[in-house]
Amino acid sequence: MAQKGILAKIADEKHELEMTPMIDVTFLLLIFFMCTLKFKVLEGKLGAYLPKDVGAQSTPQEEIEKFKIQLRVLNEGTKMRFSKEAEKLVPVSEAQLEDGFRFEYGDDRRIEYTMGSYATTDLEEVRKRLSQVQKAAIAAGEDSARVEIDPRERTINRDVVRVLDVVIGEDIREINFSGSFEK
């Protein structure tokens, strides 16, 4: 009788799947992937150099001839910000600017690139000139032409990186910057 009672008890037991550990593990995996995805940043970089001998040389150095590109802002452009509602760039209001909103400039921004006596707003023209300069330098037996980028007032990082990108695209490796913080 007692034997039968045990079997009947076993037969009556409910076999439920324990969900708690599965939920635990699922949450753990979810948190783990959320965290790792957030921190995975793949970026690129552009190299440039500063004068290596600043403060180190006591004797004056011979001035090396450099091809100078001056950047001047002709039109600053409309200040825009990305609107999540409109899913596009919209102009920023004065109040938002005062509140310290991050903004970027619209397509109407114009930069003038001056190389010697020649000035243009077309980066393609800059590319052509740089190509000639580089060819001339190589023909003269040098490894690379020397370029100096001189960003003037109100230029932003993007303006300079565009020029730097073109310069590096022409395989020019001797790049310097000029200008000062307080201008």
């Binding site: 753990l28 970026e43 403060g55 991050r102 200008g179």
Partner: protein, 167 residues
């Protein structure tokens, strides 16, 4: 009935599942916290460049990174070393000290074949937002080139066209 087989004191099984769960949670928690405290990349929108070389740093290797958001502060590991809003004669000191410290931790190499003076031979990575006025970056460069620092290799962080497409 065989009571010896069901001794309550010897037959006790410990459920390990919650303990393992908690241990994993703690490990992940500390991993995330450590990552956050050591995070040296600010959330910035970098300018786009086609000629960029991919930046794949060794996570265990230290490298000097200066973040410059759109309004000009200079940040290293979440700490601001220069704030353009702050005025005063000593406002450049913290940044200069940081750069001197960077230079000291960099590998050194002779200035040239003829000049054995040792100068830092590793690049400083400047991560500036695409809308950051370039004068702030010039300022950081000028500080880096100072005779007390002598960092002459620079890298400007950019985003690559592949990244833009991926977004």
């Amino acid at each position: 009935m065989n009571l010896a087989k069901h001794d309550a004191e010897t037959d006790m099984d410990m459920d390990m599942t919650p303990m393992i769960d908690v241990v994993f949670l703690l490990i992940i928690f500390f991993m995330v916290i450590t990552d956050l405290t050591q995070q040296d990349l600010e959330d910035l929108q970098l300018p786009l460049a086609e000629q960029a070389t991919p930046d794949k740093p060794d996570p265990d290797e230290w490298r000097p990174i200066l973040n410059i958001p759109f309004n000009g502060p200079m940040i290293y590991k979440r700490e601001t070393y220069f704030d353009p809003e702050v005025k005063g004669p000593n406002r450049f000191d913290d940044l200069r000290e940081l750069l001197v410290d960077f230079a000291r931790n960099m590998e050194q190499a002779p200035l040239s074949d003829s000049n054995p003076m040792m100068v830092p031979d590793e690049p400083l990575l400047i991560r500036a937002d695409m809308t950051t006025p370039f004068r702030f970056i010039q300022f950081a460069m000028a500080q880096a080139a100072d005779p007390s620092v002598k960092i002459w290799k620079l890298e400007l962080a950019v985003s690559t066209p592949q990244e833009e497409n991926a977004d």
